[in-house]
Symmetry: C2
Subunit: 147 residues, 2 copies
């Protein structure tokens, strides 16, 4: 099992703002993909769509201002059954987001790609909160020929 | 043991240009940190310096247009003894760079930070080759309070 780990610090004193960006359809549309639909409450499924395809995430846990966990229930085969989590904490002037995408079976080339892409999306989340504008798909940062 | 993996695709038909950016002091200064010195030949040690500190890398392997491997011989404790590698291949219009920073003992918060930072530096490498301009330290992308 191999994991993708990231950290960003959002210059903000509002854990709630970051939490809302992770737990509302409007918030998620502002940094990951504009084509986000579904039910973001615990037990619900959120559909994230991108030009090349998409992911369905079941919401496993939402602890206000603290933690969000999803399980991938549909999407690329390598993603199904993996979990994605965001842990939040205030440290001085920053809301720290510790991100994990856990449970990859093999460190395949697609996992390399997804690591780099997740980094750009988490910086998009940071930008959304700090400036009011993220870079969600389809205007996301392109990292390679897979997009 | 846990690893950091990334992939970028540089829109270029020149494996040599990307290889040069990984194996010359001038090239490395253009995307990772402007404060790069030392001996980039196999067996040499390259000193990379950043405002918060730096890394000394011993060059273990340089296979022209194909692969570069470094071992961290000085720097933060978590980095010492880890290896950093870049594997290159041409795929259609892109030079694909598969990156690995292997041998971390624990998935500490600093590893989360370094994953996100490596992504920004690899996108800086992509930008350097594609546009002639990278974003090396000190004008690198800031990801959190650790820089």
């Amino acid at each position: 099992m191999v994991d993708i780990l990231h950290k960003v610090g959002v210059r903000s004193s509002s854990l709630d703002d970051v939490y809302d960006a992770l737990t509302t359809i409007d918030g998620l549309s502002g940094w990951w993909t504009t084509d986000t639909k579904g039910d973001a409450a615990v037990g619900g499924v959120i559909q994230f769509r991108f030009p090349p395809g998409g992911f369905d995430m079941k919401v496993l846990e939402t602890a206000p201002a603290k933690r969000v966990v999803w399980e991938v229930v549909d999407g690329p085969e390598e993603w199904i059954g993996t979990t994605v989590s965001f842990d939040l904490q205030q440290q001085d002037d920053y809301v720290i987001v510790l991100f994990k995408h856990e449970g990859w079976k093999e460190p395949v080339e697609f996992m390399h790609h997804c690591t780099t892409k997740w980094g750009t999306y988490l910086l998009s989340l940071k930008s959304l909160i700090e400036t009011g504008e993220g870079q969600p798909s389809p205007r996301d940062v392109k990292v390679d020929s897979w997009d």
